[in-house]
Assembly symmetry: C2
């Protein structure tokens, strides 16, 4: 059975502002390595056992995506350029319609980090027998903190080696509930990585969100194609409701399984998250770019342009990019959104 | 008796890096007002009672100085462009040689702030009778902190209304001694502002530093002149020893007086000093340029280019200029020099 990676590159998040911007979002940046997060994602499911990937992306990033994949030595079978953002369920529908019905789709956000790729591959291998039988599989990240920013999954009975029925999806919880789930030990984070047959997914979508399926089908049947690029019809796709795969399909479908896996996963959802997963120097600092730091501890100092010169600071995040420099204390990087809001005014 | 301001613009200090740089030092910047510190200095001794000033400056800044003075509506009688830096005594000698012997020279650093100009003028007026008699007068800043970064002056017996004999000059003291002097109440800071007749100063210089006087005379007699600009001969001036007016003349001369004065003086010798003398907003912040601050307190945030975006920070100094951004805690701005040293490596 062929595994086709479906890489979702629709995000335009602002949580890593000022480096991440609408024209150059997080997945297109080199945040954790020399390679960009998109390149790392593509290479994580490349080579033996994997077919050429399908990338679903914002049309504005077409050229950058093609260049980055080429530089990484990955040749996509299709780059589907969304005329509008409609959340993950319609995006995956476009990908599924570009694949063969019997393909197993490995759906991956393009802006996550997985340190232990072997563990990821082992989890995929464990999932495949059930995928072949028609199950929708999600990967449940072994939690190590009471995160309130993620959805959680309660792990049910084991239905295959290393594969469990999903007992329940839990939406982003309050702190207390997150702590209880972490303590209970039978919950995992929903990392947004999925594995299922294209035809099974489309069948479930037709059942639970038929408008979405119709819109995706219309958009693909009237798509413009050039080389591996696909431009779904804008008017047809605009008719699709906007919803996540979790709400539209996973929480409603019958045969939904989870493979719990500890694989050094991070969604790098904030500057604090990036600091947490980065190698630090002897003073606990993470530097990148032109940085000069004297008597500085436990800071994240990054620049893609101007020089950052620091003396005597502790527990600060300083990020310079383009014509902006961001300064905030560690632990408060979620508040970047307050700045974005203030800028809109 | 004519008072000729002699404005010393030789400084190329790095304590206000990254805004102050060798090519654009502190005195040429707008730090405390719309006007530059040079402009504020020139206007402080302009109009009734003052002759056109003599400016002694680094030749590299000739054009900028002329433009700034013109914009301030001040026409100098001479701009003497030093071919090399030889500290204040030789610089003042050049100025004195450009003036008439009977002129009273009001020597002022170009990079200090004086909030109470009326008090300054009153102090000048008090000093004039003794200046006419041939005294060298310095202005003693009423101290309000045990500063270890300034020289101090012990105030002796009153020899004229508001004018005292200098009992003693005290070099930059240790903290304990500074505290004792502050408590004693009979000491003032040496602000580097002087008033004396040109001929008296040159006479004392000839007595206590004859090489310096000879070099200055040679340099001026062989100077190139164009409009109000004067380029002293480089070779001749290079022969001058380098020394401050305090060491070379004031501490050695006989008839030296001090006028104690409280006039809201600051040498703006650091970013902390600038924060201390600036108006703050309701949150204790001092902003200038493109700054966006959310939930931020007691910070100095300045930019002359890129945007500074801050959330949740306190007691920090962030200064962006050109291709650099400086970040350090308030109270540690003297440590900018550590960065400058690190950059040289």
């Amino acid at each position: 059975m062929t595994i086709v990676p479906v890489i979702l590159s629709g995000g335009s998040g602002t949580r890593l502002w000022p480096m991440s911007r609408p024209e150059m979002p997080k997945q297109l940046l080199s945040l954790t390595a020399e390679e960009t997060m998109l390149q790392l994602t593509a290479k994580r499911a490349h080579g033996e056992g994997f077919a050429a990937p399908i990338v679903v992306a914002n049309a504005a990033h077409a050229r950058e995506i093609e260049e980055q994949l080429q530089a990484a030595g990955v040749t996509p079978q299709a780059v589907i350029l969304e005329p509008a953002a409609r959340n993950t369920a319609p995006a995956i529908a476009l990908g599924a319609l570009a694949a063969k019905g019997e393909d197993a789709l490995l759906v991956m956000p393009s802006d996550h980090v997985i340190h232990d790729v072997a563990a990821f591959h082992a989890a995929i291998e464990a999932a495949m027998p059930l995928v072949a039988e028609g199950w929708l599989v999600t990967f449940g990240i072994t939690p190590d903190a009471p995160e309130t920013g993620y959805g959680w999954i309660q792990i049910g009975e084991e239905i295959g080696h290393g594969v469990h029925r999903v007992a329940r999806f839990v939406e982003k919880p309050q702190k207390e509930r997150a702590e209880a789930m972490l303590a209970a030990g039978d919950h995992a984070w929903n990392g947004g990585i999925f594995l299922f047959r294209a035809d099974i997914f489309l069948g479930e979508l037709g059942q639970h969100a038929p408008q979405m399926l119709t819109a995706a089908k219309d958009a693909m049947s009237r798509a413009r194609r050039e080389r591996s690029c696909v431009w779904p019809d804008a008017e047809a796709f605009a008719a699709s409701p906007s919803d996540s795969i979790d709400y539209a399909v996973m929480e409603k479908a019958g045969r939904v399984a989870v493979v719990p896996v500890a694989m050094g996963w991070s969604d790098v959802g904030s500057w604090d998250a990036l600091h947490a997963i980065s190698d630090t120097d002897d003073n606990g600092n993470v530097h990148r770019g032109e940085v000069l730091a004297v008597d500085t501890r436990n800071c994240l100092l990054r620049s893609d342009g101007i020089r950052i010169a620091a003396v005597g600071i502790e527990d600060l995040i300083v990020v310079a990019s383009g014509n902006d420099v961001l300064v905030l204390p560690r632990g408060r990087s979620q508040e970047v959104k307050k700045l974005i809001e203030a800028m809109k005014k």
